[in-house]
Assembly symmetry: C2
Homo-oligomer: 162 residues x 2
DNA sequence: AATCATGAGTTGATATGACAACACGTAAGG
DNA sequence: CCTTACGTGTTGTCATATCAACTCATGATT
């Protein structure tokens, strides 16, 4: 993006009163939070209603399926959520007997977390519903669209981490 | 998307243990929440530190610049946030003398919210910083990339609203 | 052996956003 | 005129996510 003045003006809209502010339809980060809020709201509602589990706990089920034995710190880093929230989620999952925890090596600080059979079963049940919802959410997207969206979101994420 | 079994398998990754779960790098909605969380975390940190204002209140400043005289209900619908949160944000902004409120018509329920001069000045100051951050966040994006990202996020948002 | 630095994980407090219920007021219908 | 339905906005409560501070234990340094 060579001429940044040009680009900055691109994201602005001029109001009837002559003021300038962010365009709701042309600023990617505005669109990002709009879409993410709506997605999260709907996911939370569906997960709570059908499985009595929150979005954060579902995310942990995915994380521990992907990385059995993960620690709080590794999970926090992988899914981009503060470790305090991860710690709390694991505590809830432990209460529900969806995970087990084992100390790693002889270092009691390092805990390895794994799903129980009950946890794996719940994960598999929810995955079916999530994939079905995903299909509707991506209705009308071509394969190229999906690959582009993933590529661009990943690039944005990398820029944010820089 | 014709063959949905194909597509559903596309978002899945098989773990070393033979389990299937969502791919963190190929599922757009996973990438969406990753990017949105990181963006929100950084925005909140920067806004709080430099202007002593939260992300939600900033969003309301943009909303009222865009639509002076907007109501709680209109704002909630436009920015996709629950009206309870909008109501609270406006209350905070009122306390800080950044907005004023006038009843519409003769119906005391319908309130019109507008920025004060102090609110407009703060909005303008923050906008400069937000645009500067946006430039960094979109570093390496071509114009086509930005247009694509906006188009795809808007499409996803529409699918979520359906 | 003692001290210090560092990291893992937990907990208290807070911001954000949602859900539900409610008070209130207007408009519509009988 | 009375009743009902509906929408606006507020408030209580809760889930999510963060920030900060803390406890605890290990490894490094002296």
């Amino acid at each position: 993006m060579a001429d940044h003045d040009h680009w900055q003006k691109f994201f602005l809209v001029e109001t009837a009163e002559g003021a300038q502010t962010l365009s709701f339809s042309r600023t990617p980060t505005v669109l990002l939070t709009f879409a993410a809020n709506l997605f999260t709201r709907q996911s939370a509602a569906a997960l709570t209603k059908q499985f009595d589990i929150g979005a954060m706990d579902w995310r942990m089920l995915v994380m521990l399926t992907r990385h059995p034995g993960a620690s709080v710190a590794l999970s926090a880093e992988t899914i981009g959520i503060d470790k305090a929230a991860v710690s709390r989620s694991l505590s809830r999952l432990l209460d529900k007997k969806l995970v087990t925890c084992i100390a790693q090596d002889r270092d009691p600080r390092r805990k390895q977390w794994k799903l129980t059979k009950k946890g794996r079963d719940l994960h598999d049940d929810i995955l079916v519903v999530v994939l079905s919802r995903l299909r509707k959410q991506l209705d009308g997207f071509t394969e190229a669209d999906i690959l582009d969206l993933s590529r661009l979101l990943e690039k944005l994420h990398k820029n944010l981490q820089a």
